[in-house]
Structure formats: structure tokens, C-alpha cells
């Protein structure tokens, strides 16, 4: 359920990093404008490894071959650290031309003055902005301003262990299933004697804890915040329904394995100890030992929400190093995210297509599924991404409050209604402050 594996960082390293950030911040002059005449290769910071890295560098050399005179130099930066490094570089007056940045940072990234506004760029003919998924466009846009171009997309669906379902004499989930069925299946798949759980949930209280619940909230017909993002809206019937669903499994039925570390659930599923996981396509390759199936998330009957999911898209963001670099960077990104390249990247890596037109080609989905079974359900599920998290700078704070709310319910420390009310009050405070 964690998309981005954290690397071990020591406090010392952290201090040194902070120190370096601050030192450079102190010494550097803010030369955001840069020199328009300066040319040279465009610098791109990305965090690709393995097949992704190979595919990306192939695309870069193809671009250079097709566009004589254009040079792209890419630098590997661990995705988790990119924002910190970009901040340092911006203060030092030498940001990269393009950086791969997590979508959850978008509202904060938008505050950096050197970030290039792409609102007009994506309107250019041939870009076909609306071909990108709704969820992606929402995350690339902050207060009506486009600050990035979608780089990666994913979503949550249910991965289940077919063998365990057969052993429990249960029908495998169908596309029209409900949360009631999910809860009932989870209970039947639970067997304390052999330490087998129906499902699992990550409980460090971070955004990973929160976004799983947000999908449930939307499906129950709820909203996180009011339409103007000024007040909390999750203290509602839908909020209660979604939390009750989790509470039933975690507290009443004890059919949910709670993973406080964010790192155990995957191994347990791969060892056949967990029946169903709500997770994303990135986890599929770590389940070689189980015969698994993938189904879209269940729905709440009677709710207007239907079957939904949540997506955590990431962005390519351009920084201003002078107009020559900006236009070269724009040209490269538009090429990189054009349908042909998106298709190539998805087929090579198994990452979901960032463009609808690519995902809708039957051959793409079939080929991807042959390489990574189950991934076609995730591709189709992109159509169920109807909403995005609120794009406001206060979101990290709100996420923390919601994380505490969810974990306190899952651990049986508070009742859903009380937890919702208290969280809503704190969120309102955070939004007002």
C-alpha cells in the first residue's frame, strides 16, 4: 500500500542535509530568471530505477535523435527526496529544468516562484490535455493554474488470493460487489488458528493510511471538504458509513491485519496469510507466490458514489532557467507525454498509461496484462477515478488529523462518530488558521 518505499535516513544525514539546504540557501542568490541566452542540455531529475530507468533513457536518446541540437541530461534522484533537493537548488539559483515531483506536493510546489505556469502550454493544439485522466489533471492544477504534466498514475483496487477464496468456498468478487460482501468475505477468510486474516490496513497514520479511507468516503457519497475548501465536510453520514466499515473489520470481526509499519502486509499476502488487499498496481510484482485476482473496489448500495477509487498521480514540473531552457523543456515534456511515448513506456514498464486514448487501445491492455497479470483491471479502473484530494497547501496538516482519526477507530480507541466530530473540528481550525 505504500507506493514509495522509504530509504533509511539517519538523523545525522538529515541534519547534514538540512545544514546543506540552509547553507546553500544562505549563500546563493535567487537568480530565478537565469540567462535566456544560455543553452546546453536541459537538466531533468527523475527517480526511475530498473526497467523504468532503461525505458526512460531509451526515450531520451530517441528524442535526441529525432531533434538534432537538443540535449537532455537526466540525473537520478530518489523520488522521496526530490522536493528537498529542488528547494536547495532553487535557493542556490540552479534548479533543474524539469523535476519529477509527487502529486501530493503540488499545492506546496505551486508556491515556488520559479515553477513555470503551463496553463497556456497545455492548451496548445496537439497536446490534447483532456486526454489525460481527470484525476491527473486535477492534481496537476492548483487554483486553476497548471503547474505540471502528468508523469505517472495509479489507483487502488482489490487484489485477492484465489486459493484462499476457493478453500473458504467463496465466490470470487464480481465487478458489482458491495462493501457488505467485502466485510462478509473478510470474516469468512479469517482463521485465527492458522493466523489468516481477511484483509489488511496500514496504520502508521500517514497519508498512506488516509488515502485508502478517502476512496471509501467518496464511494459512500461523501466529500472531504466543502466545495470552496473552507470547511470540513467528512463529518457526515457517508463519513460514518465508511469508518464503520473499517471498524467492523478491525474491531468487531478482527478480520483485518493492522500493519503499523507499512511494510509487513505485502509479505503476508505473498505468503497466503491475507485474503484481500486494497492496493495499487505497483504491488502486483511482489506477489509471485500466490494465485491472485484483481477486482475494482466494492461499492455502497444506494449511495450516489458507485464504484470509485483514488489515484496518486505524480507530475513533471518545469523550473524557470531562462526562456530558452523553458521552451526546450516544454518541447521535451510534450513529446515525452504524447500518446506514442506513453504507450511505449507503459508496455515496457507495466506502469498504467497516463493517457485515456492509450489505455483504451485493447491491444495495450492485453499486452500489459500478459506481462503482469491483473494490471488490466487497474488500467480499466482509471476510469473510476472521479475525484482528487483537495489541492490546498494545508493538506499535509489535514492528512495528519485524518490519519489520527482513522487509526484511533481501527485500534478501537474511539467511536467513529466521536472521532469524526473531533477531526472535523481540528480540520476546520487548520483551514481557518
Amino acid at each position: 500500500m505504500t507506493k514509495h518505499r522509504r530509504r533509511g535516513t539517519t538523523a545525522v544525514l538529515l541534519t547534514a542535509l538540512t545544514a546543506a539546504t540552509v547553507a546553500l540557501a544562505g549563500c546563493g542568490s535567487d537568480s530565478g530568471g537565469g540567462n535566456a541566452a544560455s543553452s546546453g542540455p536541459i537538466q531533468i531529475w527523475e527517480g526511475f530505477t530498473g526497467t523504468e530507468a532503461k525505458t526512460f533513457s531509451h526515450l531520451v536518446s530517441e528524442y535526441e535523435a529525432q531533434h538534432p541540437g537538443q540535449k537532455v541530461s537526466s540525473l537520478y534522484v530518489n523520488n522521496d527526496d526530490t522536493l528537498q533537493k529542488v528547494l536547495t537548488a532553487v535557493r542556490g539559483g540552479s534548479p533543474p529544468d524539469i523535476a519529477y515531483l509527487y502529486g501530493s506536493w503540488a499545492p506546496n510546489v505551486a508556491e515556488i516562484p520559479q515553477v513555470v505556469d503551463l496553463t497556456q502550454v497545455v492548451k496548445q493544439p496537439g497536446v490534447d490535455w483532456n486526454d489525460f485522466w481527470t484525476g491527473e489533471r486535477a492534481v496537476a492544477t492548483v487554483n486553476g493554474k497548471v503547474i505540471g504534466i502528468p508523469a505517472l498514475v495509479d489507483n487502488l483496487a482489490v487484489v485477492y488470493n484465489k486459493t484462499l477464496f476457493a478453500k473458504a468456498h467463496l465466490a470470487v468478487p464480481g465487478p458489482n460487489w458491495t462493501w457488505q460482501q467485502f466485510v462478509a468475505d473478510a470474516q469468512k477468510l479469517t482463521d485465527p488458528a492458522i493466523k489468516q486474516f481477511g484483509t489488511a490496513y496500514v496504520t502508521p497514520g500517514t497519508e498512506d493510511t488516509v488515502w485508502h479511507w478517502e476512496a471509501l468516503l467518496w464511494e459512500a457519497g461523501g466529500q472531504l471538504l466543502s466545495a470552496d475548501n473552507k470547511t470540513a465536510a467528512f463529518d457526515s453520514a457517508a463519513g460514518l458509513t465508511s469508518l464503520e466499515t473499517l471498524r467492523t473489520m478491525a474491531v468487531t470481526d478482527k478480520s483485518m491485519y493492522l500493519d503499523p509499519t507499512d511494510s509487513a502486509y505485502g509479505n503476508l499476502f505473498n505468503s497466503g496469510k491475507i485474503g484481500m488487499l486494497v492496493t495499487g498496481p505497483w504491488d502486483l510484482s511482489s506477489f509471485p507466490n500466490v494465485h491472485y485476482g484483481v477486482q475494482i473496489m466494492p461499492s455502497y448500495p444506494g449511495s450516489s458514489g458507485g464504484h470509485q477509487t483514488i489515484s496518486g498521480p505524480d507530475n513533471w514540473v518545469i523550473f524557470n532557467n531562462g526562456s530558452a531552457h523553458v521552451s526546450a523543456a516544454e518541447q521535451f515534456l510534450l513529446w515525452l507525454t504524447a500518446p506514442a511515448q506513453v504507450k511505449y513506456f507503459s508496455l515496457q514498464t507495466g506502469d498504467l498509461p497516463t493517457r485515456q486514448s492509450v489505455a483504451q487501445q485493447a491491444s495495450v491492455s492485453t499486452q500489459m496484462n500478459a506481462a503482469l497479470p491483473g494490471v488490466s483491471t487497474f488500467v480499466a479502473n482509471l476510469g473510476n477515478v472521479e475525484q482528487a484530494r483537495p489541492q490546498i497547501p494545508q493538506y499535509p496538516k489535514i492528512s495528519q488529523i485524518l490519519g489520527t482519526m482513522i487509526v484511533s477507530v481501527l485500534l478501537g480507541q474511539s467511536q467513529p462518530q466521536a472521532a469524526l466530530a473531533s477531526a472535523a473540528q481540528q480540520v476546520n481550525q487548520a483551514l481557518a488558521g
Partner: protein, 317 residues
Amino acid sequence: MAVSAAHAHQRGRPARQRGRPGALRRAVASDHFAGWAFVTPGVVIILLFGAVPIVWSAVMSFQRNNLLSPSTPFVGLANYKQMVHDPIVAQAIQHTLIYTALFVPGTMVVGLFLAVAMNRKIRFISFYRTAAYATMAISTISEAIVFIWLFDPSYGVVNYFFSLVGIPQQQFLNSPSEALYVIVAMTIWGWTGFSVVIYLAALQGIPQTLLEAASIDGAGPWRAFRRITLPLLSPASLFLAVWLTINALQLFDEVYLSTQGGPLNATTVLVYYLYNQAFQQFNFGYASAIAYFLFLVIIVVTVIQFRVGKRFTYYRS
């Protein structure tokens, strides 16, 4: 000029000589100059990456600064005042203190026990010593992963042993009241090798003659340990107490790798909260204020430790 001033001062000459012609030449010709010349690049780098950030984060602690936008208004003591009203800061302080109070004596006692056990001529002693120190060589991330599985509520071997002896099953990292103690156990294990090495070295510095004399005078092994070994180990104990305390107050890695401060902030210690504020919430000003508060706490605790420690420490000349 700093060079010649330092030089003149060190030679004990009157200060007025500094201005005289020839003073500079003498300074350049002296050994001190060569010494300073050699260390200057290092000093500059240390100042740049050590002193400048220290000063800069002090400045930031008086600003509202998210490092993102160029506007960094001065807010006076607002960040420090905010700490007083922040319930999580209070919790983090409490967790940090509980952790330190358990971790420091725990590591010292376990380390002393193992060091005494290994301070003798038995077979495979080098193997045991290496094994004890190996905990220091193992990366924190592997250590954390192993402990996460040892203490897993459903699949962990600790709960398995508990079930064998009839102790009820515990939730460990899933329980707000137990998670911090799992972190204590994890870090004591990780740091034991360090205290073993320090104590072992100190034990080998204790003259055998003293122990023999005591035994001739009729002291049993326990009495000799209490009256001779332990007092002579006191400089090592003071060093360990100070060093481990400074590290305990800066606990971060194990929390970051295992619980990320949870469940329900139960393992949120000061440095973890500081990290959270700086790099997840983008409140660099507030995080700097917390860092300076921690710095102050460390200074105060260390000074107290040295003052109190002096009374119980015996230095042999």
C-alpha cells in the same frame, strides 16, 4: 591578522607588539602559520557546513519560513510560543524523556554485564566479542525490519514465547501504550555493542593487583566488583551516560523506519516531530524552533551529567 594575533598571544608577548613592522613576517615564518595554513580549508568547510547552518536555523526559528515561497517574515518568538501550546510537542517531550530514561541505563547495564562476562580467558572469546560488537555494524534498517517481525502481534516470535509461558498476547507496535518500549528494546540491542566495547576497554585497564589485594583481604567477587571494579569504571560510565543521552535525545531512525511516530503519536519523539514539521508540513521556522529547544535541553542535561558525574567519577593518574 587573526593568525598573527593568535601567534603573539600564544607567545605571551604584550599585545602592542602586534602592530609593529616585522610582526607579520615573524608570524608567517613561524610554525603556527604553517599549521593554520594546513587546517584552514578544513576549517572553512566545517564553518560553511557546520556553523553557517547553525546560525541560519537560529534565524529561521524567528521566521515563518516554508522554504518554498520567498516571503519569510520575521515573527519574533511566535514559533517558540507556539511550542508551548502544541499538545504534540508536550507528548514528544514526554516520549523523549521516557525513552532516554530507559534507553541510557538499559544500554549501560546490558553492556556492562556482557563486558564483564567477556573479560576473561575462555574459548572463542574473540568470536563472542565480535558478535557483541556486530550489533553496531548492522544497519539500522535491517535492525528495524528484524524487530518489526520479532514483535509482530500475530506472527512474531516474541508473542509465541509469551504464549508458551502463559503471558497474554500483546499488540506491541500496534498499541499506543507499548510501541515506545519496543523502540527502547530495539535501540538497546543496537547500541549494546558500543557500550560493551567501551566497558571492555576500561575493564582491561583495571590493575589485576588491586583485585588480588582485595581478594587476599577477604573480599568476595561481588564485593570486589562493587568496591573496586565499578568505581574504576566510572570514567567510562560517565562517558557512556553523556554519549548515550545525547544520542537518545536525538532518536529518529528507528521511529522513522518502524512506526513513523505512530500509533496515535505514541512514538513521536522530538526529532521525529521536527522532521515531520519541516519536511512533511513545510514549517521550517517552527521546526527550527523545536531544534533549538532540543539543543538547549541537550546542553542542560549534559552540564548536569558532568556536574553530578564528577562526584562519582574516580580518575587514576
